[in-house]
């Protein structure tokens, strides 16, 4: 099992810079979350890991899967990586599978591309993969239009598992599905990761990610602005944006007169600010924030935040007061 490391990833498309600086790592077998609103660049990060950026995109930085450098890799390198070592499941399962072939056929195609085995062995792999996602053998002959969204997403997960990858990247796997189906998929993902496979779970829903992830990265405007262990972050976020995200999560049983919102709009990809990317919407922002890019601070072990005025955890703040 290898780990994934992304260092200083930048992606430019035309005049826009949708990914300004993304750095994250997933240890072998670890479950890590990547959270951010739409436009934060999280999907682009995932696509970059698989070499699926649009043709006009220009990427810089580093992506390592174990000791394989991925960014700028050759086609033959990719063929060994895609599906086999690194698998991805996409947001919309209804359109992610070819409507003209049965899912069994599509899964067979994928395993056939990676394992040089006789047909019978390949079909066994397909059956096993379908079993793991609790789809019985009959589904192999079905076409996508004959299946529900939840079943299709499970089929996609089966496809991802079929080649036994080291790491699975899931980009908004439940966003297009019903809430009840969501729970089922999340449960499945939890089970699978319990068996040793790494998972990078990408979502705009912090609460969803909290169900499975040990660590989480928060992205805003193309930058990873904060990271930390899940529990700690949920308890006390350091970056003002993360704090806002947490506050904005509606909680069942809690009556709120007005749902808290984050004022302002996301920084457009075409603008290049001199200072912090979040400052225009930040209640803690000062002149310094406008002029100077924030430093990356490590206030606690395993955490990192890019901010001039991070929200200090209460205990630490008290210590600083006294000491």
């Amino acid at each position: 099992m290898s780990g994934l490391t992304i260092a200083g990833l930048q992606v430019a498309i035309g005049l826009a810079q949708p990914l300004r600086d993304c750095s994250l790592s997933v240890a072998p077998g670890e479950v890590v979350g990547l959270v951010g609103e739409s436009g934060s660049g999280k999907s682009l990060t995932a696509l970059a890991c698989l070499g699926l950026l649009p043709a006009q995109a220009r990427a810089r930085g580093q992506i390592q899967l174990g000791d394989t450098a991925l960014l700028g890799a050759t086609e033959s390198v990719w063929r060994g990586v895609r599906g086999r070592r690194l698998a991805m499941i996409f947001q919309n399962p209804m359109s992610a599978l070819n409507p003209f072939f049965s899912i069994g056929r599509q899964l067979l195609e994928v395993v056939g591309a990676h394992f040089a085995e006789p047909r019978a062995a390949l079909q066994l792999r397909v059956r096993k993969a379908l079993e793991r996602v609790q789809l019985d053998a009959g589904f192999a002959d079905k076409y996508p239009h004959q299946m529900s969204g939840g079943q299709l997403q499970r089929a996609m997960i089966a496809m991802a598992l079929a080649c036994e990858p080291e790491l699975l990247i899931a980009d908004e796997p439940t966003t297009a599905l019903d809430v009840t189906v969501q729970a089922r998929i999340m449960r499945l993902l939890r089970e699978l990761t319990g068996q040793g496979m790494g998972l990078l779970l990408i979502s705009h829903d912090l609460a969803l990610v909290a169900q499975v992830a040990a660590r989480v990265y928060v992205m805003y405007a193309g930058r990873t602005v904060e990271t930390g262990p899940m529990r700690e972050l949920m308890g006390s976020a350091s970056h003002p944006y993360t704090a806002n995200l947490l506050k904005a999560q509606p909680r069942l049983g809690q009556f709120q007169r007005r749902l808290p919102v984050i004022e302002g709009q996301v920084l457009p990809a075409t603008s290049s600010p001199g200072g912090c990317v979040f400052q225009s919407r930040c209640w803690r922002a000062t002149e310094l924030c406008r002029l100077q890019p924030p430093p990356a601070l490590s206030l606690r072990p395993l955490s990192r935040v890019e901010c001039h005025h991070p929200i200090l955890p209460t205990l630490l703040a008290k210590e600083l007061e006294h000491g």
Binding site: L52, R82, G83, A87, V110
Partner: protein, 337 residues
């Protein structure tokens, strides 16, 4: 599926009847004197009077049409004024020549046009794409007959690589005739093991087939390119890429399958073009097929022949369109399952 088939067949019969009615109506109203047209040159007053009764021209139109339709249903499409033979027989004897020409042209247009279009889509915006677009736009603007004449000028007149016209070298036919099993000279000569005749037939086919296929090839290539370019942007192609499918297999095995449907529609359309184009190509290359027959009939005012051919060819055209519709239906699992 069966329901669909039944419905479409019923519709087909209805349209064929409608076409017959239209042709009939036009044949009675357009010409200045339908009788003279039916009888040929300058008949006497007595002949005219006789024909009026025979053809039932004094009866109400509806009754005339009923007789006409009934005869047609029994396979009698009239008698040619020039040869005195039943029109149906004359058409059938020429059918194979046209079928060979159109089939080969269609194969050429599809087997060359589709891969080139797919390639252009894969290399979208680059040199091959631009070049193929320029070629395509130009080919469509060249009249079919001019292309044929140009080819004759260069490949026969200047270079003498290929024969001018006809289906096969007539001397060859006399020296060693071969059995006409299918009517397709390429197949028949192959079956007879007659290589010299095969070569002759093939060389005679080359220019007419290319001429007929050219414009259709251009359209198919462009359509394939456009449809593929769209398909290549879809989510399921992205998935296939994400799982390491090889580019060749991705293009031709996976993505092309999704592009097949709209492509099939266009191929059906170009087949229609070719039926019309075959009239011209057969005229240019002196090809003994149905197209040539139509031109001969029109030019010699063989009215019954013109009507007969039009009806028959239109029916075949409609039938093939039906087949294509059914294929379309069968090929889309979202519709047929």
């Amino acid at each position: 599926m069966l329901v669909y088939l039944a419905r479409r067949t019923a519709a087909l019969i209805a349209i064929v009847l409608g076409v017959m009615a239209l042709v009939f109506l036009l044949s009675r109203t357009l010409p200045s004197s339908p009788v003279e047209m039916m009888l040929g040159a300058k008949p006497t007053a007595q002949q005219i009077a006789q024909a009026r009764v025979e053809l039932g021209l004094d009866r109400p139109l509806v009754e005339q049409f009923a007789r006409f339709a009934l005869r047609a249903a029994q396979g009698d499409l009239g008698t040619s004024l020039r040869t005195g033979q039943p029109v149906v027989t004359e058409i059938l004897s020429r059918f194979a020549a046209t079928a060979e020409l159109v089939t080969l042209a269609l194969l050429l247009a599809v087997l060359v046009g589709v891969p080139m279009g797919v390639w252009a889509a894969a290399r979208r915006g680059r040199a091959f794409d631009q070049a193929s677009r320029a070629v395509s736009v130009s080919l469509v603007a060249v009249p079919v007959f001019f292309l044929g004449i140009l080819l004759q000028l260069v490949l026969y007149g200047q270079l003498q690589w290929l024969p001018l016209q006809g289906r096969i070298d007539s001397d060859l036919m006399l020296d060693h005739p071969f059995a006409s099993v299918t009517g397709f000279y390429l197949l028949d000569t192959l079956l007879a093991g007659d290589l010299a005749a095969l070569r002759s037939a093939a060389s005679h086919l080359l220019m007419p087939v290319i001429t007929l296929a050219a414009a259709s090839l251009a359209i198919i290539m462009r359509t394939a390119r456009n449809v593929m370019a769209e398909v290549l942007q879809t989510d399921h192609v992205r998935t296939a890429r994400a799982y390491g499918m090889r580019p060749g297999r991705l293009l031709f095995g996976f993505a092309l399958r999704a592009a097949m449907l709209p492509l099939l529609t266009v191929i059906g359309l170009t087949y229609g073009f070719m039926l019309g184009g075959s009239v011209i190509v057969e005229y240019v290359f002196d090809w003994p097929g149905i197209g040539g027959y139509i031109v001969e009939s029109v030019v010699t005012n063989d009215f019954p022949a013109v009507i007969g051919v039009t009806l028959l060819v239109s029916s075949v055209y409609l039938l093939i369109n039906l087949v294509i519709d059914i294929l379309y239906f069968a090929m889309d699992p979202r519709l047929s399952l």
